[in-house]
Structure formats: C-alpha cells, structure tokens
C-alpha cells in the first residue's frame, strides 16, 4: 500500500510539472489536432453538455451509492455520510 501511495504522489507531481524539462530535450514538430477547433461545435452542443445542472446527477449518484455497496470511478465527489 505504501508503494502505491508513493507511486501516486510521484505521478501527481510529475503531472504538475507538465514534464516541461523533457519537452526541451527534443523539439517535436507542433502537433496538428485531427479534430480541428472549428469542428468541435458539436461537443459544446446543449445535448452534449454534462455540467449545466450538477445537483440532479450528484443526488442520483448519492442514492445509487447509499443503496448499494459500490462507489467510485464516476467522476463525482462527495463527503462521507451515515446514510443508511
């Protein structure tokens, strides 16, 4: 478990650094996204947006986790509770 925690912390801080030092070692040609910015209108369509109302989905997620034994990997967070 200790190894997992250390690996996780290392991973976290390397992420924070953005690995800028490594990028300086070798200059790659600038990346051209295969989905251009002007093609991403669909992703911001009202039907695709997930965050406009956060409470309804959070509440449903809360009910699911309280009424079952599983949790995690859903992208939502919350505090602990004695909701039994």
């Amino acid at each position: 478990m200790r190894v997992t925690k250390l690996t996780f912390l290392l991973l976290f801080f390397i992420s924070l650094s953005g690995c800028s030092q490594m990028q300086k070692l070798t200059e790659f040609p600038e990346f051209q996204p295969w989905v251009a910015p002007y093609e991403r209108g669909i992703l911001s369509r009202e039907e695709m947006v997930r965050e406009r109302h956060t409470y309804p989905s959070q509440f449903r997620e809360h009910v699911y986790s309280v009424r079952g034994a599983s949790q995690g990997a859903t992208g939502s967070q919350g505090g602990g509770c004695g909701c039994n």
Partner: protein, 385 residues
C-alpha cells in the same frame, strides 16, 4: 486472470501496475504533445435545486445551493450548501429500532486554479448529522494535450468520519482515502470516449452502530472488518447524432473489493433538443452486485464478521428516468439560465434478504424475498453570469 497471477508472483499489485502505466502514459503524452491550449476557468454560476427520494420506507428531501465566482484571471472559488431531511421507517429501522427523523447538512468550499493547459482544484466538504460527522478534502489535477483532444486527470481525496449513536454512548472513527485517474479522448467531432479508475481504502468503523445480524433467530450486533480496499473502473462515451439532434451517452463500471463484493453498473442516456428552448432526456440503468463474504440473512453460528446489511447482499436494480429542461433567453444579468425537472423510478430486488412476517425471524415459512420501488425527483435552476 493469468496476468494477475503472474503479477502477483512478481510482487506487483494491480493498483501499482495501473498507476505506473498511467504515469508512463502521462510522460509520453507530455513528450509528444507540442501544442499548448489554454484551459478555461469554469464559468461564474449559480445553481439551486430541490431533491426528493421516496422508497423502502425512507423519504429524503432538501434544498441545495451552489455559487461559483472567479476572483482573478486564473482563480475561481465556489461554495455550496446542501440539506437532506430524512424520515426513515425502513425495513431495517422497523426491525431494530424506531422510525426517526433527522437532518444532514453539507457545506463545501472549492477553489480552481488554471495555468495554461492545466487546472488544479481543491475542495473541502463537511457533512454533519446528529450521529455522523465527516470532513473530506479533495485534490484534482486536469491537463489537456494535443490541442485539447486528450484530457487526463488525477486526484486524491481524504475523509475522516466520526461515527456516533443517538441511542447509546457509542463512538468510533473511520478514514477513507480515494486515489483516482481519468482519461478522455475526442475521437471524432461527434464522439468522446472516457475511462476512469478509482482505488478506495477504508479503515476504522465501517458499519452501523444500530444494525443487527441474526443468529438462529436472535439479534446480535453486526461486526464488520475494519479495513476495506475497493477498485472501480468505468469506461464510456458520448456520441452525437446530428440529423436527430440527439446525444447518446453510455457508461459501464465494474467494481470489486476485498469484502468479495463485485458489481456491474450499466447506464445509457438519450438527450434530444426539441425546438429551440427545450431539451428532453431519458435514461436507463442496470445495477447488480454480489454479496459480501460475511453477509448472511441468518447465521447458524456465531462468526467473527457478520452482517445483515441489505446493501451488502446480492441484489439487482433497474431504473428508468425522464427529465426535461427549458433554456431561457439570456438577460442583462443572467447567461444561459435554465430550469430542469426530472424523475426516476428505481426497482430493487434482493436475492438473499428476506422480509419476515411480523419481524419474527423464526417464521421461516412466512418469509419472502424483499423488494421495493423508489422514486427520485428533482427540480433545478441554473444560470451563469
């Protein structure tokens, strides 16, 4: 299975392997991704909602309020207030205690900081009940690569709980650690794929001071292990069908833990715009889990670990929901205001948890598998400014 055994033989845990693989993956992305995109702060926003749950003798209602405001070019702060007003006469309460009413109040404070293509978030959540107090800290780091097509996230949460009892001087504590990583990829202009993994470590008192186990028809205090480690992995995607103005979102999650609980969670939703201002959404969910190794409806002998918690039993659940949303015109003060209403029907069917007539656990001929329907409903108003 073969891979897992090989890794175990080499002394490499699956959690370590996932973390190491993700580390290499992030390094590779940073190495290859030459272009930098500017991450944006979440918009200033107000959201208020009212939620409702009714099922299995439990009713929960309450308001919620969320406010977020940017305080600098690259910093925003937010706060939230959330209340659960609980009225419970569940099958557990009817068996072991008396119906009760109580409130749970939750406050949270958050801050987001952006730097070029990355966002760092920190939040604190306090939850307060008469017999349960919890403090949780969250750290999350999100970074975009390849012109914003690829997003990785990494996060950690730490929670400390005080567990009390309203009927005795019972007092104990619990600690929870959450380690999570996530990945999303814009594959096509109309398709985004996602994957999330979370490892959770729980220590301390992980049960309920009220709940009982049943041994040969007699009630005894339940006793759960004081440690638990869980792994959850979800994969999913959002796809937009332009000719129908419809988005289809699907997600599957697999969960397993050291208590032998295994769970499958599958969800699909369809979101469609109607005319200019209306959006309608329908969703279905299937959930099934196996029981914990120390769960039994009735024990025939006194075991060290024992529980009759139906949430730890083998059960299946299906649900269907429908929501509508109205998008108002922008005003001088409010941008993209919208009102959302929705309701969900949930069916729980237990495969090894019985309802006994008159609560008499010796009436084995008059017992039936427990099942109940629940209703979830909400109304929510949201606007940016």
């Amino acid at each position: 299975m073969v891979v897992t055994r090989l890794l175990n033989a080499l002394g490499v845990s699956s959690q370590k392997l996932v973390a190491s693989t993700f580390l290499q993956f992030i390094v590779l992305l940073s190495y290859l991704s030459g272009s930098v995109v500017a991450a944006t702060l979440p918009k200033d926003k107000v959201e208020t909602s009212y939620h409702y749950y009714d099922g299995g003798g439990v009713e929960v209602t309450g308001p919620a309020l969320f406010v977020r405001k940017s305080v600098a070019d690259n910093v925003s702060i937010s706060g939230s207030y959330y209340v659960d007003e609980v009225s419970s006469a569940s099958i557990d309460v009817q068996t072991y205690a008396s119906p009760y009413k109580e409130d749970r109040t939750e406050y949270s404070l958050s801050a987001d900081y952006i730097d070029q293509d990355a966002k760092l978030s920190f939040s604190y959540v306090n939850s307060d009940e008469s017999d349960y107090q919890s403090d949780t800290f969250h750290f999350d780091y999100v970074e975009e690569y390849f012109g914003g097509l690829t997003t990785t996230s990494i996060g950690y949460s730490s929670g400390s709980d005080d567990v009390l009892s309203n009927t005795s001087d019972f007092s104990d504590t619990a600690k929870h650690d959450f380690y999570r990583i996530g990945f999303s990829q814009v594959v096509l202009p109309e398709l985004v794929l996602r994957a999330n993994y979370e490892h959770i470590s729980d220590k301390g008192f992980l049960g309920s001071p009220y709940r009982k186990s049943v041994i040969n028809g007699v009630l005894f205090d339940e006793n759960l292990p004081r440690t638990r480690r869980s792994n959850a992995l979800s994969i999913g995607g959002d796809y937009f069908i332009e000719t129908w103005s419809t988005a289809i979102k699907a997600q599957y999650r697999y969960f397993s833990d050291t208590w032998d609980v295994k769970a499958d969670d599958f969800r699909v939703s369809v979101t469609k715009s109607l005319k200019t201002h209306w959006i309608i959404e329908g969703w279905v969910r299937y959930y099934g889990q196996s029981s914990a190794s120390f769960y039994q409806d009735q024990f025939s002998s006194v075991l060290t670990y024992r529980s009759r918690d139906k949430e730890l039993s083998d059960f299946d659940s299906v649900s269907m929901g429908l929501g509508v949303e109205y998008l108002f015109q922008d005003t001088k003060w409010f941008k993209a205001p919208s009102l959302a209403l929705g309701s969900e029907w949930v069916r729980y069917q237990y495969n090894d948890f019985y309802e006994y007539q008159n609560g008499d656990f010796n009436q084995n001929n008059n017992k039936q598998l427990y099942e109940f329907d629940a209703t979830i409903a909400y109304v929510s108003f949201s606007t940016t400014f």
